[in-house]
């Protein structure tokens, strides 16, 4: 049984509201996405800004209401929960944010921020217990418990991110959605936070949905990776497989954009032209065709379905031939 199974999840936002509240168009932020997370594993989610990866992460937590689809959490469909039931369920899945400044209330002490979950769910019977729990949580993320009465602005970016993690841990969740948790941090701090997350996973068996645009990082910590483009999953595979044998032209372009510290490297760079099209009015057929270097006529009219190309490797592209090669990666068969 999976910890989390997302089936055909869609999120739409109304845009261009008319004078009297009439909705004239919809922005498809997430379009029929399937996703599965097992207990204690990390699933990576990559894509450009605005491709809907953060929206997907929030929709899974019901922080944004999905328009369609199911979210199965350990056999129960949580899209039907509401009110008290939903608030009770929220203990099981948490989120940590990209921006360590705005993710903490500037008027709340760090101890109160971490203890908020204990207050909401009445997990601590008395003040002493509450303080002990907060101190233990701060220690588990590498913070000095004596600073519990300090305010967020007195901490560095990395420390604030640790506070955010401690707050999420307070309810002992099974899943944490990490929404680009390190992209706002210095490179040296990034490694510390990533290692902290990995340690916590090892000791507590927490599953992560790790949202990022740094492919190298995602490959390092994830078992499986999903690539999103314009609200849709275009490719999903095991992390190493995806990095070394990408099949979708978009994934290939993303990987070729990862900088390599080797001046002799003679990699062929794929440079994508144009902009990401508007999700309000996505192009017909394959949404990627206006930027795809190998687009064929049928890409402009028929949307490719996400299909299993080989064991555990799915891609949505017309150009993948029967022998699993694509124009951008003709050697894909040699695996």
């Amino acid at each position: 049984m999976s910890l989390l199974e997302v089936r055909q999840l869609s999120v739409r936002f109304p845009v261009r509201r008319g004078l009297f509240g009439g909705v004239r168009a919809w922005l498809r932020a997430v379009d029929r996405v399937d996703l599965e997370i097992q207990t204690g594993e990390t699933v990576g989610l990559v894509g450009e800004s605005g491709c809907g990866k953060s929206t997907l992460g929030r929709a899974i937590l019901r922080l944004i209401e999905p328009a369609d689809g199911q979210i199965i959490w350990k056999d129960t469909d949580i899209t039907t929960l509401s009110g008290r039931e939903l608030r009770q369920w929220r203990r099981q899945a948490q989120i940590i944010f990209q921006d360590p400044i705005n993710s903490l209330d500037p008027r709340q002490t760090v101890g109160d921020a971490i203890g908020e979950a204990l207050d909401v769910h009445k997990l601590a019977p008395n003040r002493r217990e509450r303080q002990d729990r907060i101190a233990a949580l701060m220690e588990s993320v590498g913070l000095d418990p004596s600073r519990a009465s300090d305010y967020p602005h007195e901490f560095s970016g990395g420390q604030r991110q640790r506070i955010g993690i401690a707050r999420a841990l307070a309810v002992q969740p099974d899943l944490i959605v990490c929404d680009e948790p390190v992209s706002a941090l210095d490179v040296s701090i990034q490694a510390q936070i990533v290692n902290l997350l990995l340690d916590l996973q090892r000791t507590r068996g927490i599953a992560y949905l790790f949202i990022a645009h740094d492919l190298a990082l995602v490959e390092h910590i994830s078992r499986r990776v999903l690539v999103m483009y314009l609200g849709r999953v275009v490719e999903s595979a095991d992390a190493t497989e995806l990095l070394h044998h990408p099949l979708h032209p978009y994934t290939q372009a993303l990987i070729s954009a990862v900088p390599v510290l080797d001046p002799d490297s003679r990699r062929k760079r794929i440079i994508l032209g144009g902009e990401v099209p508007s999700p309000i009015n996505p192009p017909p057929g394959c949404a990627f065709h206006p930027r795809c270097p190998w687009a064929e006529p049928k890409c402009k009219s028929i949307a490719p379905a996400l299909r299993e190309v080989k064991q555990g490797h799915k891609a949505a592209c017309h150009l993948i031939t029967a022998d699993n090669s694509t124009p951008g990666n003709p050697t894909a068969t040699n695996t």
Partner: protein, 307 residues
């Protein structure tokens, strides 16, 4: 935009103290308030005690002179200032309660509710508010007169009129407060820390109490401090027209009106108009300085450059 934090509150306090005009004004307001509330105990004259000594110029026994009924002007100015300050504080309080609640609900609920609530504010904005208050108070006065004919005591009639004045002034000055609070709440609602709180399973009341209200408080305090002088001015204006405080009660506005009525070609009793007018001007100036000082000290933007 960044919201300020409690630690920066100390910095804000330091900034306020560095603003000399604001500090002097704050002391002025505090001393004036103390004087109007405790002064009457030390001063031998009652504000409404009539004597034979009419139109006496300022002297050692009557520092600010006496008026047409021989009433001591210092006692009356103190009394009038007290009424004016009370009206200002209560009126601002009424505007705070209505405006903050209205704005918070509109901003937090959002969507169509927000649209409807803020359109109502827009419509009320477009009405000439002072005329609205005049109509309201005139109508209330008419009602009170009818009730008095039916056996209402003069004492409770006065109370009703006073409450009507407080309410009327508060009712017209909550609009800007609602807009300010709504804007703040709207931006706070989408902050990640509010989202985190929701993700933890917190309900709306918890989020409003623990996150939204503490973060809106600073801006609300600033605007409240600027609303008090505005209401004082409104009240003086109404009293000058004879609609606000009814004689023999006095406010700064009605005192100025009485003084103005005594101006004639033969003799000007300058002390009847100069002292209440100067008190009103000084109070308004000081209250505005305090409000400006608070805004400079607490405003979210000024907090940013000092990191």
């Amino acid at each position: 935009m960044r919201v300020f934090s409690l630690g920066s509150e100390k910095r804000a306090w330091d900034r306020f103290r560095a603003n000399r005009a604001a500090v002097v004004s704050a002391w002025f307001v505090v001393l004036l308030a103390l004087l109007t509330f405790f002064g009457p105990f030390a001063w031998p004259y009652e504000p409404n005690a009539i004597s034979d000594l009419q139109f006496a110029a300022p002297s050692l026994s009557h520092w600010l002179g006496t008026d047409v009924h021989g009433r001591d002007m210092l006692a009356r100015v103190l009394y009038g200032t007290r009424i004016s300050l009370t009206v200002g504080a209560v009126g601002a309080g009424v505007s705070l309660v209505i405006g903050a609640l209205w704005g918070a609900v509109a901003g937090y609920v959002g969507g169509r509710t927000d649209g409807i609530m803020m359109r109502i504010v827009d419509i009320l904005y477009s009405l000439p508010s002072i005329i609205f208050v005049i109509v309201l108070i005139t109508a209330l006065n008419g009602l009170v007169e009818r009730w008095q004919a039916m056996g209402l005591s003069a004492e409770s009639a006065k109370t009703i009129q006073l409450i009507g004045l407080f309410g009327g002034l508060g009712l017209v000055s909550w609009l800007t407060m609602a807009r300010i609070v709504r804007g703040q709440v709207l931006s706070l609602r989408n902050q990640p820390f509010v989202e985190a709180s929701r993700a933890l399973g917190a309900g709306h009341l918890h989020i409003l109490r623990r996150h939204i209200l503490p973060n809106v408080a600073g801006v609300v305090i600033v605007y409240l401090a600027l609303t008090v002088p505005a209401v004082v001015l409104y009240e003086s204006f109404l009293s000058y027209l004879g609609l606000g405080i009814q004689p023999p009660q006095a406010s700064l506005g009605s005192l100025i009106a009485e003084g103005a009525s005594q101006i004639n070609p033969i003799r000007t009793y300058w002390w009847l108009i100069v002292f209440p007018a100067c008190t009103l001007a000084g109070t308004l100036l000081a209250l505005n300085f305090v409000g400006d000082g608070l805004r400079d000290a607490l405003s979210p933007r000024s907090g940013q450059n000092k990191g």
